[in-house]
């Protein structure tokens, strides 16, 4: 086995960041819902899967209508994808969570798993159980490095994923920090009962949380259908599991934590694949989770004082 190559290391960081960005986008949905109602939204992985399907369908349809500007296709797809999955996110909250508010915590958990199974089968019936694939919209990239040695390859798609992810995360952070609704979200997260007494419509805030999470999951889904190009109705499960791990790793309930957790998980998988064996990448990811939780039970950026009821 040839030795260590610094350029390969750079390439593995790029690979890990790309993967991590997607995990981070999905992880935010888990963490926001947990931050506000203290529960895990188990249907979130399916929302991501629906985002991927909407992305693929819209991109194919726009291609048929002869739209050829990549920027325009991307913007239209993101807009439609976010709208559709937001509607799904809102519906999940209305059907599986709101009617059960105030019941024991296990009850909405089970109803969310029910929604997850329903959505998976619903897409299977509507779109078929088989893989659907799409040819890349954006190919090519930049190469760096010696002409006869290892060349680092940074594809346009990887740059696009990074840019879109950073843009949406910055947007979300601004929204939470500055806007009126964002302030209401933070208030609910701190003390939902008190926020209610002070005149904040907490039901609306909770619905908004689901919608925001779903929107970011849609972005992740669309990026995946562009980058990977092959999806099926069961992709939500593994992606959801990984993103949930990322959220816990970063400290569930903390938005910067979810971002950090996603990136750390992506890098860990990439390095495990590169310097150990590919079959160990999931093992490494979960061992890392256990180690972090042993040292910091609330995750990397979690607040230790929060005890949700």
């Amino acid at each position: 086995m040839p030795g260590f190559s610094p350029l390969e290391f750079v390439q593995q960081i790029i690979n890990g960041l790309t993967l991590g960005s997607i995990y981070a986008l999905i992880a935010i949905g888990y963490t926001m819902v947990y931050g506000i109602i203290g529960m895990i939204n188990f249907a979130h992985g399916e929302i991501y899967m629906i985002g991927a399907y909407v992305g693929l369908l819209v991109i194919t349809a726009l291609g048929l209508f002869g739209m050829d500007s990549i920027t325009a296709i991307l913007l239209v797809t993101l807009a439609i994808g976010i709208l559709v999955t937001s509607a799904y996110g809102w519906t999940v909250e209305r059907l599986a969570y709101r009617p059960l508010r105030g019941s024991p915590r296990l009850v909405p958990l089970i109803s969310a798993i029910g929604v997850s199974i329903f959505l998976q089968n619903y897409v299977q019936i509507g779109q078929g159980a088989r893989d659907v694939s799409m040819q890349p919209l954006l190919s090519g990239g930049w190469q760096f490095g010696p002409a006869n040695g290892f060349q680092v390859y940074l594809s346009y798609m990887q740059v696009l994923i990074a840019v879109v992810t950073v843009a949406f995360m910055a947007g979300l952070s601004l929204f939470i920090a500055r806007s009126r609704m964002g302030r209401a979200c933070r208030a609910c997260s701190e003390d939902r009962g008190m926020a209610n007494l002070l005149g904040i419509d907490t039901n609306r805030v909770i619905a908004l949380t689901f919608v925001l999470g779903a929107a970011l999951a849609a972005v992740a889904g669309i990026l995946v259908s562009l980058y990977i190009g092959k999806i099926n109705p069961t992709i939500g499960f593994i992606a959801g599991l990984k993103a949930f791990t990322a959220a816990v790793l970063g400290g569930i309930g903390s938005i910067p934590g979810a971002m950090l957790g996603g990136i750390v998980l992506g890098l860990a998988e990439s390095f495990a694949s590169a310097y150990l064996k590919t079959e160990y990448k999931d093992v490494v990811a979960f061992v890392l989770l256990i180690l972090v939780l042993l040292v910091r039970p609330t995750g990397l950026l979690g607040r230790p004082d929060v005890e949700k009821v």
Binding site: M1, D131, S133, I228, S273, T278, E279, K281
Partner: protein, 373 residues
Amino acid sequence: MKIFNRNVLSAAVGAIILGLSGLAQAEETIKIAVAGPITGDVAQYGDMQMTGAKMAVEQLNAKGGVNGKKLEAVLLDDQCKPEQAVNVAGQIINQKIKYVVGHLCSGATIPVAKTYEEEGILMITPAATNPTITQQGYKMVFRTIGTDDQQGPTAGRYIATQIKPKKLAIIHDSQTYGKGIAEEVRKTVEAAGIKPVLFEGINKGQTDFSALITKMKKDGVDFVYYGGYHPELGLLLRQSQDQGFHAKYMGPEGVGNKDISAIAGPASEGLLVTLPADFSADPANAALVKAFKDQNLDPSTPFAMPAYAAVQVIADAIKGAKTEDPVKLADYIHKNSFQTPIGKVAFKSNGDLKEFEFVVFKWHADATKTPVK
């Protein structure tokens, strides 16, 4: 009173069942279960198998069936999953079906082969190639396809004699079929003096291979053998091209269907695949090929003709042995040979074919293939 009720009830149920089966089906049929993935990510292969088996049933029935009885294909979906295959085996036992054509995936076939052996059900798989299936001393289990210890060496010898790669990587999907064949290939190339620089598994369902591709690129790999199915290989090919990693790839029959081109697009051009010979090109099968094409079905897929042959072996054995008892039929099949679209077939005592040939094909981006050897 109670007895009366039960009679009424059973009469009613009987009437409903008769009603459902359409009264015309009053005559008895010989049921053959065709088990394989109808849904799931490798359902394409299930299609190939079902197509061949259904065609055989149709043509045998057109010739008057078997011993005056019509054949009936019962399609069952195992999704290529071992746990689902066990459910399917349960259904077959409950419905008292005595013959199975299937299963398709090796991982799904291994657990149920034992069940069929114990229950005295005759099983012929037209697709599962893992050698261990026929190494258990089973009497009721046969296959009308080759095995990975034939297919692996075919691929391995081709790599060692024709490709002569400087740096060979062998990747597999960590499943029964993929890992098994990857190990056969490794054995053959190592015997020929080529030591792979990399031998490792990916996870089934994995979609991002960038880290693995980067590693192979750094190690200067110029040829990759992949043991597994097309969904993962398609993405590997595509992401290799994206990263500017230009090694040639080769895979077993599990990657050889048109979906690989749908996933990988231009990156699937030049992929090498070992497949059963294309029986639809055999002039002796011209009439049969026409029958397939008349119904818009594809006879050239790897499992269509072997599935046809499996049904035919069962039917011919029932005719020849003049019994429907599966145990006696298994004995008859062991002792005789059968003329089928995949040639004259005879079985070894373990249920494998005495002869079966795999051929190396070159795959093209438009999902066609040409033989190279």
